[in-house]
């Protein structure tokens, strides 16, 4: 899943004449991960602190000069680099006030971009395709520069990625209706050329490193997003001939009429792409959205409406998206989680629960902020004071090492602080996963109350943290089991069945020491108390004692005269299980299930367990038939239909066993009578239905005669 958070405005745009240009030529990461360098398309470079929305410094070149490439920050030397008038390279530090007094030098050819390389010297890419390291270029500015590209070729896009710990520079050049991808690496020195399939130049490109290569995402004006995998050859050498680069269609977005004019795509991780300028599939025209699409399932994961005009520009840096729209530049933090179809269905045993906390937030490389590695991402997240999920990350780190009591305190404080429901859900899921995996690793560690509190927050579900329930079962924490059974909406049948087995096989003595939820206990207590007190005086649902004596009085199984006189049904039988066991079994009865799956797992119950459970169900059924459930009020109590369904399922699953087992014979015959009675009642009801319908019809036919005598009664 991916989510977009609240947008904040970083600065106001100097929209160019006609309003077609946002006035921003580039946004690059700066010294701190909370800072960005924003380059104006005219003359100025500004450094902003994102969390404070404050400009830290601003530099403007003289009138008449223009900034031709986005300024970058060189972390090696803590200097900013920018190119003015295509040929003049200027280098300055934070302390410099006037850019004109800073260092500048003129090179012999037009520069296309200066590209910052993580942990290395920046690279300078010339318009004709040559590449130099910045330090070597500054040492000899007038050195001759070779021409890699022909004169008519235009560079459309360039990026530097760290592939196999080596910087790899790639850029797209367009010439004569042909788009070439050029790729250069320094160690070993290699260059390769690829021809993009389709010919036309993409509107926007984005690259991600992958195993043994680079994945290139291209957005075309038809609304299609294609992916190409560019292999990285181990051997060096310059390959002169142009190789074709195959592509696969990832997304085909609805564009409406015409073609996209200005749109931009940034790949956030291997499954998510952020898009701006592409219409929202369900919103009307005239509205612009920032969308995050899942390329694996072609689903729209998150969208945010952008007010005002969209310029088709989008940058991504340190977990935030930068979108110029209308008259402002907005910063939108985002988050992408691993997603799968199975997770969406709630049926996946996610591997993610064992993943360390930092794995929750996959690194977000982008072509503008050349692949910050995992470590730097985490540093960013921890340092920025922005959104609450960043605090969560910190918190998860703490939880990993704290003692059980501290964990408890922290969890309660944390949950009480969070207000946003969405954040709580993410946070609670992450936290539960961390706690469960820690419990599995450290046998002595088991923060019962913290887990109970998490479950109580109602934000967890089984699929978010699948090991929690099994862990509780292992630790025999039946209270937690009860809460989980109450709260989780998506417990798989197998797990429900294993819970059932555990409850049935546990002795009543141990269970009675467990403290369970008051309300459910009170409900069962009420049932049991009623059964001991009065048996059943008012019997409804067709269970008139006199008719039952007639019906089943002669049954061979009734050995005791008491049963014969009172009723053929042991409606006032004793509860076959202990109080707390009954409470837990009630919770099982209320779990949602699909009967064909449950049937498979029910077969694994042993014969004594089945008989015990059936007896309990029969007891419940007897109580319910006596209309006691209306007298004993409870928030949660199994419904009559649930009880009947479980009886049916149990008998179905173990029919042969039950028939063979001598101790089950009495039980079966009782159940048989129940069914016979029900059938009889239903047939009687069917007869009544006909009469009622006739009555209704008779009532509807209103008289239309001119004169009638009627009798009315007024009260």
């Amino acid at each position: 899943m991916a989510a977009l958070y609240e947008a904040t405005t970083l600065c106001v745009l100097n929209v160019g004449p006609g309003g077609s240009d946002s006035g921003i030529s580039g946004i690059e990461p700066s010294a701190d991960d909370d800072q960005v360098v924003v380059t104006d398309s005219a003359r100025s470079v500004t450094v902003y602190k994102v969390s404070d929305k404050k400009a830290l410094g601003s530099w403007t070149v003289k009138q008449g000069q223009t900034v031709t490439c986005p300024a970058i920050y060189n972390p090696q030397t803590s200097e900013y680099v920018v190119v003015t008038d295509s040929k003049v390279i200027r280098v300055w530090k934070d302390s410099d006030i006037n850019i004109d007094r800073a260092f500048k030098t003129t090179v012999s050819a037009d520069v296309w971009r200066v590209l910052s390389v993580p942990d290395s010297e920046p690279l300078v890419l010339f318009q004709r395709g040559a590449v130099r390291r910045l330090d070597t270029l500054l040492a000899d500015p007038q050195q001759p520069v070779e021409n890699v590209l022909p004169e008519e070729a235009v560079i459309r896009w360039s990026a530097v990625l760290n592939v196999e710990q080596q910087p790899c520079l790639m850029f797209l050049s367009e010439q004569k209706g042909e788009t070439l991808l050029l790729m250069q690496r320094r160690h070993p020195d290699s260059a390769a050329r690829y021809r993009l399939e389709g010919g036309e130049a993409p509107l926007s490109c984005s690259a991600l490193p992958c195993d043994g290569g680079v994945r290139l995402f291209c957005l075309y004006s038809s609304g299609s997003v294609y992916e190409s995998v560019v292999p990285i050859r181990g051997a060096g050498g310059v390959v002169e001939e142009v190789q074709p680069l195959p592509r696969t269609l990832l997304l085909n977005l609805p564009v409406g009429e015409g073609k996209l004019e200005s749109a931009s795509a940034v790949s956030l991780d291997d499954a998510h792409v952020a898009l701006v300028g592409v219409p929202h599939p369900s919103a009307g025209p005239g509205k612009d959205f920032l969308c995050i699409w899942n390329t694996n399932f072609q689903t729209l994961q998150a969208a945010k409406e952008m007010a005002g005009r969209i310029y088709g520009q989008l940058w991504c840096s340190c977990g935030k998206l930068y979108v110029p729209h209308g008259k402002s530049l907005s910063v939108i933090p985002f988050k992408c989680q691993k997603s799968s179809l199975a997770a969406a269905m709630g049926k996946l045993r996610q591997a993610g629960s064992n993943v360390p906390a930092s794995g929750l937030y996959t690194s977000v490389p982008s072509w503008t902020a050349a692949t910050p590695d995992m470590r730097s991402t985490k540093r960013t997240l921890l340092r920025s004071r922005d959104v609450s999920f960043l605090r969560l990350n910190q918190f998860l780190e703490d939880v990993k090492i704290a003692s059980a009591e501290e964990v408890q305190k922290k969890v309660s404080a944390f949950l009480s602080n969070l207000k946003n429901l969405h954040v709580i859900q993410v946070a609670a899921g992450g936290l539960a996963s961390v706690l469960v995996s820690r419990c599995q690793e450290q046998p002595g560690f088991y923060p019962h109350s913290a887990l109970v509190q998490l479950v109580h927050s109602q934000c967890l579900s089984y699929s978010v943290c699948p090991h929690l329930l099994t862990l509780a079962l292992e630790k025999k924490d039946y209270a937690l089991c009860q809460f989980c059974l109450q709260v989780f909406p998506d417990i798989p049948e197998a797990v429900a069945c294993s819970c059932l087995k555990a409850f049935l096989s546990e002795s009543d003595g141990t269970l009675d020491t467990v403290s369970l939820e008051r309300d459910s206990v009170a409900f069962v207590e009420g049932l049991i108390a009623n059964s001991t007190q009065e048996g059943g005086e008012t019997q409804q649902n067709g269970f008139c004692p006199t008719t039952q004596v007639e019906d089943g009085g002669g049954g061979p199984t009734h050995t005791t005269p008491a049963v014969l006189t009172r009723s053929s049904m042991p409606l006032d039988m004793k509860c076959p299980v202990g109080l707390h066991k009954a409470v837990l079994l009630n919770e099982i009865l209320q779990v949602a299930y699909s009967d064909c799956f449950l049937l498979l797992h029910l077969k694994t119950l042993s014969a004594p367990q089945v008989i015990l459970f059936l007896q309990y169900l029969q007891f419940l059924y007897g109580k319910y038939s006596q209309d006691l459930h209306t007298q004993v009020s409870a928030l949660r109590s199994p419904a009559m239909t649930q009880i009947l369904d479980w009886i049916c399922l149990l008998v179905d699953a173990h029919f042969t066993v039950l028939v063979m087992a001598p101790e089950a014979r009495e039980l079966l015959s009782h159940l048989h009578k129940v069914v016979r009675l029900q059938v009889k009642v239903f047939s009687e009801l069917g007869k009544i239905e006909g009469c009622l319908q006739a009555l209704q019809k008779a009532k509807q036919s209103g008289d239309v005669c001119q004169y009638s005598i009627e009798v009315i009664e007024l009260f």
Binding site: Y707, I709, E710, V711, I712, F715
Partner: protein, 664 residues
């Protein structure tokens, strides 16, 4: 409370007639409505549109236009005569032939000194309004083509006349047409079909016209050019109405819709304004022929015979009787009289009476057969009554009163007219027999006349002054007039006994209790009073009602109570009814308090007998039968209920121009 035998009668084929003209008098807040049978009804706006007076109709009288001049009401129609209505005596005051063929429209000038009539011969005839008559002054125009609609400019110097295919503007000083605005024919219809300008309005700077091409057009007064053209409907725009401040305009169409236009700022806060079509109301099934705008409501009427009062302020927070839609379909007076002892029903139709007799007196079954009384003359019946013993029938038209004696022996019924009625009793607004059938009381605008009835004949006894609603219990007679003054007379002494304090709302029904001599009065605003005649003061029950206040559900009903009767078996029971319910008030039970459920019959039915008394209150309302024209109680605890199903009325109407079909 008990069981009641209900005689549910549905054979009164009362048919209301369509509305053909309307005029609203802003000064007196009275609405005059003319119907196709020639009758004119007066409604009071201040009194929740209570029908105060009805001028009975006349055969062959058709009213095309109504016009208020001060407190005087003028009407004109296709007979070619202009008539003034006498609103005190509820008859025609005079009528004068305009000698221009059928008159389609009359208007009076803003000063109230002149009337203009648009005639068939193409002339606009100007009349001067005098004290007791009107005098022809001059003609304007006179070419071919009838004049359908007229509008007088507020300055009084110009008249716009809607004709066929054009509008002419006449200057009053010169008497000549100064402008001729051509109205194009509709594109839908064949070009050959002429376009009738059904209605014109003369605002201060524009002329608005509604025509048979379904368009509302705005014309510039000075240049005579078309400013704006609104295609409102595919059928005709029949009538227009404008608010007094000229910011809101309504158009009624043949489809049954009323369309509102408003003069709104083109740009908010700027001077420039434009007429914009804003709302459409669809409350009629047939043509909307007449519209009247009364400040916060728009009143519309048409061929479907109902008068619809639509409030324009619909964003009111609280719901009240004034802010809800009001439909007036049935007359707010009783057209049925019932002889309690004899079990007779007398139905009053405009042109005849129908008497239904009980033929088998032994059974409580009412075997009825009709006796039809045709009328003489052209005037319509204005009131009728049957004596409780069933021997006498009286009816009145504007021209005279007729009394009949009914004699029954076994199966033969003979009706003989009683000759020589006293000359004083020329016509009556209300007729009433004394409970012992010995006297007939007839009211005129000035007096109550008493006529003694004997088997030999009748004899004038006395005149009591002044008078409209009458009820009597033999000893006392109460009469209420349109100013809601109630006078009580002692009939033994033939003298005025006392008067009841005047209440602000009109009396819609009243009745004197036969045993206690208490007068129960129900007003148009649904207030109920009980006045003890002997003690000459309000009874304790009445004071309790006033103190505790009536339940809001009772007060929010939209039709007034039209009859008050009493249960002969139980003196505590008062039976009231309006068009949609009847209600038995048990005076021995507590009144419903504000929070309690008013319609509690179903609740009471579900309760066990013992608890019913605890939950029941005085108002026993029954909505089983509707719409109701009459509810009366016979002697043997049986009710007579005369129903007129709405479906029967709608099936008798002509087919509408356009019917809403599913998914169109």
């Amino acid at each position: 409370m008990g069981e009641f035998t209900v005689h549910r009668v549905r054979f009164f084929h009362y048919m209301p007639s369509g509305i053909c003209a309307m005029a609203f008098n802003r000064r007196t807040e009275r609405l005059a409505v003319a119907r196709t049978d020639g009758s004119v009804e007066l409604y009071s706006r201040t009194d929740h549109f209570f029908q105060e007076k009805v001028v009975p109709g006349r055969q062959q009288r058709s009213i095309q236009a109504l016009c208020w001049v001060g407190k005087r009401l003028f009407g004109a129609g296709l007979s070619g005569e202009i008539a003034e209505f006498d609103l005190d005596n509820l008859r025609l005051k005079f009528s004068q032939d305009a000698y221009g063929g059928p008159i389609w429209s009359i208007v009076c000038n803003p000063q109230g000194t002149h009337l203009a009539a648009g005639c068939e011969d193409g002339t606009v005839k100007l009349f001067e309004i005098l004290e007791d008559q009107i005098r022809f002054e001059r003609n304007m125009g006179g070419q071919k083509g009838r004049i359908i609609s007229l509008a007088w400019h507020s300055s009084g110097t110009k008249i716009a006349a809607g004709m066929i295919d054009m509008i002419k503007v006449f200057d009053l000083d010169s008497g000549n047409a100064v402008q001729r605005l051509l109205v194009e024919r509709g594109s839908r219809m064949q070009q050959s079909q002429e376009c009738v300008v059904w209605s014109v309005l003369f605002l201060s700077d524009i002329i608005v016209s509604g025509d048979s091409a379904g368009k509302v057009k705005m014309w510039d007064v000075n240049t005579g050019t078309l400013i704006k053209n609104h295609q409102v409907t595919e059928w005709d725009v029949l009538t227009l109405s404008v608010s007094q401040d000229e910011t809101s305009l309504f158009a009624g169409t043949s489809e049954g819709t009323v369309v509102q236009f408003q003069l709104l700022d083109v740009v908010l806060g700027q001077e420039e304004k434009e007429w914009v079509r804003t709302r459409t109301f669809k409350n009629h099934t047939h043509d909307v022929i007449a519209l009247a705008e009364a400040d916060t409501v728009i009143i519309s009427g048409g061929m479907d015979t109902q008068l619809v009062v639509r409030p324009l302020l619909d964003k009111l927070d609280f719901k009240s009787r004034d802010s809800s839609l009001l439909k007036i379909l049935f007359p707010q007076r009783s057209l049925v009289s019932c002889a309690k002892k004899a079990g007779l029903l007398l139905f009053q139709y405009p042109t005849h009476l129908e008497l239904w007799l009980k033929t088998c007196p032994s059974v409580h079954l009412m075997c009825l057969f009709p006796v039809r009384l045709g009328l003489q003359g052209e005037d319509h019946v204005c009131c009728s009554a049957v004596a409780p013993c069933g021997e006498w029938i009286a009816y009145s038209t504007t021209s005279g009163i007729r009394l009949y004696r009914l004699q029954r022996d076994n199966k033969n019924v003979s009706i003989t007219k009683v000759p020589k009625l006293p000359k004083v009793l020329r016509h009556a607004h209300q007729l009433c027999f004394s409970p012992d059938s010995s006297h007939l009381y007839g009211t005129t605008s000035s007096a109550v006349h008493v006529v003694a009835l004997t088997s030999a004949g009748c004899k004038f006894e006395h005149s009591l002054k002044p008078n409209s609603c009458v009820d009597s219990d033999g000893k006392f007679l109460a009469s209420a007039n349109s100013n809601s003054e109630i006078h009580i007379y002692n009939m033994h002494k033939l003298k005025a006994h006392c008067t009841v304090p005047v209440y602000r709302s009109g009396v819609s029904a009243m009745g004197i209790h036969p045993e206690t001599n208490n007068l129960v009065i129900v007003h148009a605003d649904h207030q109920i009073f009980e006045f003890s005649i002997e003690q000459m003061q309000y009874t304790d029950w009445s004071r309790r009602v006033q103190k505790e206040g009536l339940h809001h559900v009772w007060l929010e009903r939209d039709t007034p109570v039209i009859n008050v009767t009493f249960n002969p078996q139980n003196p505590n029971h008062v039976i009231l009814h309006d068009s949609y319910m009847f209600c038995i008030i048990d005076q021995s039970l507590p009144l419903p308090d504000r929070k309690s459920q008013f319609h509690n019959q179903l609740t009471l039915k579900s309760l066990p007998e013992a608890e019913r008394l605890k939950h029941s209150h005085a108002f026993k309302e029954c909505k089983l039968y509707q719409p109701l024209l009459c509810v009366d109680m016979l002697e043997n605890q049986s009710l007579v209920v005369v129903e007129r199903p709405l479906l029967d009325i709608t099936t008798n109407l002509p087919a509408p121009v356009r019917q809403k079909k599913f998914a169109t």
